[in-house]
Chain length 276, copies 4
């Protein structure tokens, strides 16, 4: 044989789960999207189609819903840990599990009424393997804008550089962040609030000379204010807002009228790590 | 010739416009998506390609951005009226105009900092023709859920009916609403707040025997509380949340664990009109 | 009461149905998205929540799947007629039905193997009411481009017109077309092939002075070549391809390098009708 | 300082480029989406906002369009190598570059007319660093279905397993594949044709006992038939088609009527490597 099996995994993606807690007239409600993925002794099904070691993805899905009933859902980080540990503990051929969860945000309107808040989605990714478990918290779709306080100049000019320097531009991004926890016993909800607060505070509070500088300030603020975070990875699209040229119409444009572009967009990515 | 030209229109769709007001350290910011569409004496360009009467869609776009500078943007309803009237007044071959605008919602974070709030998008559609102007306000993407207070029973059972009756289900929908104003001098911002408040209040406050009943209550509440609205059209997807059957695992499910389905979905549509 | 119920309807949207015909080793496969919508004597459920006249949307869904078994699916137009007639014929309170169907295209790879072809989606909308039935065929997502043979000039220049005239541009669009059939006994498959062939042939074969001219040529070609079509409605986005300005780099650009823009885009809409 | 900068990169994402070759009446046309990303000596801009080493993302975009004119585009793999080498060779602080390209497929309709074919998108990812260059070819959105020839049984049954065993099911997937080339001098176009042919051939030709088995057969077929490929990574969603239960209506369902589900879905991922 000229080929062999490399890394592989399988699971059930995007189990849409709504969990209601009805202990009294005032309900709690949690809205999740849960994905599971298992690794382990899976060569047989690939090589011969022998499924004796393949816990079905359907059973993985059932487990998600059953655990929501049996154990409730405190936080997505805990729920991910619970699921990952279950699969590895109960299925001998399964040596590792990854559980990814998105939590959609809703605002309370009444005892049993809610409005989806849109915007930022909280995420968690739990990875469990022979070396132990890792928890990564995250947020995506947190869209921020500063209408001033952003400059961009001093860059090199090669043959293909035409961009004008600016001392005042709109800076806007969709924050996509993932942060690795140092351990497994953080106060997950408090950490989420603290991290997103740090990200937002550093974005709005930094007089920016480049989106890279802002990124580093955001990541640094997280490290400084949330001791349970070991490192934070940021992916920040530069959502360009171009001043519309109104001069053909005899009008000036003192940084007031912008065209919000779709594509292309800048993409700034970086990790900020806690010093050991 | 065996064929002829029927209804036709043309314009520029989806001009993404961000307007900043910088009168002092505290900026205002408005984020819009503007689409224009013109009708009129347009046979020539269709039949012969003679464009002498075709105000270019590029010029329509330029007008959107220039007017944002020249006139500012108070409300999307007023901005739509301004644009529609301009095209019809200044271009002899143009007899009608439709301007559709979406406004994205942002929360203030500071003097010049904002976070997009996601969720509901405010819309306006202004139609100007020989008979005058009409303004339609709207909202889309307003996602609401009641975790109880919804029943569904008493329906007929034909050969293909298998649905169980229920006295307690989740009721969830994405409200898409459009309301026709009685005139052109409403307090547009106040009306938007009042209409969306009425929609939300009636959704959460109605003990529902069908989504149709809820729709009618929502529309009626709008008519009752917002005198400037002549009629309201609602399109309400029934976002099904199915109780997950946990009995194979020896578990009950007392209305707590749901699968949130994507497709198919119910779709309930109706108009509620003010009695003359 | 200050308000009353206006137009209303309800149904099940987006029933994803795959129908396999297994009469022998060579399978046939049809991939559909079916939406139903009913109108009629529906005031009770809106006003009081009395559902005695409400055939459930769940039953409508079941009917779609059951009819696929009982009657098979010859064409989406026939299947839509069958469903619409069933609902009106069997439910006394139901006075009208609208069935919308999308058919996704697959290419055969073998006796029981297929590859989805992407691109154009065939649609049908059947409307049945007291005045009888109407069938509208359609196509969406048919993306066409001419790299030359398109001019645009001779347009008026107002204060906001800056567009340069051109005698050679890319013309590209996503064809969205709907055609009303004159009757209910067309050869639906042949008509679809003929209409889409006419649309494509007229787009590629017309030396264009405006997208409006191309639209009219496309619609006219359909009327001329498909006698079962009474009128055709076209919605054609002008997918702008802008010549990239390479002069800052000392390069010319003889109509070779383009930026394909997303938004805004022109939108040309019109109906071409058979002369009586 | 308690934190430091980890891995980072920046670039311009999604430059939509259409390149026409007009050497005669018969035009060639290539439709791309190009993303660039650079790494290197970028600490200054993060730490202090000093941009002296930051080739602007705007210049990266300009380079993409200028190179399309200066060098033409033979294949996306070559174009990616050209761009990556340029950035690293000409910018001293830039030590690495990644260029990702998508190529959309169009069918020729005439000398200068094309129809977008939808479906599969060809991709390339070129990574250039101190250790040299790597080219990864790819395809996404290749949607395949077998209406028979797929079984799934013999799996373990834990407390949460309810799935019935089957000896005949629909197997459908969207193939997302990436293959690492052994070198930089492959016949890129021939390789793409051969790889996608191998993937399709193995999918349709494998009597499947699990999607994992099919994945391994697909990867193995690529390795066997395309010597320039070192390994292939496959991500295969199991697009579930569930037999619709027609028994409540007194109907059987001999593997003919299916509900095509959206979410959740199985997700099978694996790499197949050439043996050294």
């Amino acid at each position: 044989m000229t080929f062999s099996l490399g890394d592989n995994s399988y699971g059930k993606a995007e189990c849409r789960l709504v969990r209601v807690v009805r202990d009294g007239p005032r309900h709690e409600m949690i809205d999740l999207n849960v994905s599971t993925s298992l690794t382990g002794d899976l060569a047989d099904t690939h090589l011969t189609g022998d499924n004796a070691k393949v816990l079905t993805t359907d059973a993985q899905k059932n487990t998600v819903y059953a655990f929501a009933r049996e154990h409730g859902i405190s936080t997505i980080e805990e729920f991910g840990l619970l699921l990952a540990r279950h699969f590895v503990a109960t299925q001998e051929p399964v040596h590792g599990a990854r559980v990814g969860i998105e939590r959609y945000s809703w605002n309370r309107l009444g005892d049993h009424s809610f409005a989806r808040s849109g915007g930022a989605v909280r995420t968690a990714a739990v990875t469990l393997g022979p070396a132990g478990a890792e928890v990564v918290g995250g947020v995506r779709g947190l869209t921020l804008m500063n209408t001033t306080g952003s400059e961009f100049h001093g860059f090199p000019r090669d043959r293909y550089t035409t961009l004008a320097e600016t001392t005042d531009r709109i800076l806007a991004t969709d924050v996509n962040a993932e942060w690795l926890f140092t351990g497994l016993d953080a106060d997950w909800d408090a950490a989420y609030t603290a991290v997103t607060g740090a990200l937002t505070g550093a974005f709005t509070g930094t007089h920016s000379l480049s989106l890279q500088q802002t990124l580093y300030a955001m990541g640094g603020r997280v490290i400084e204010t949330v001791p349970e975070v070991a490192e934070v990875r940021l992916s920040l699209p530069n959502k360009h807002h171009f001043l519309f040229d109104l001069s053909p119409f005899g009008l000036d444009n003192p940084d007031e009228v912008y065209y919000a572009a779709d594509r292309p967009y800048g993409l700034i990515e970086g990790t900020v790590k806690r010093e050991k």
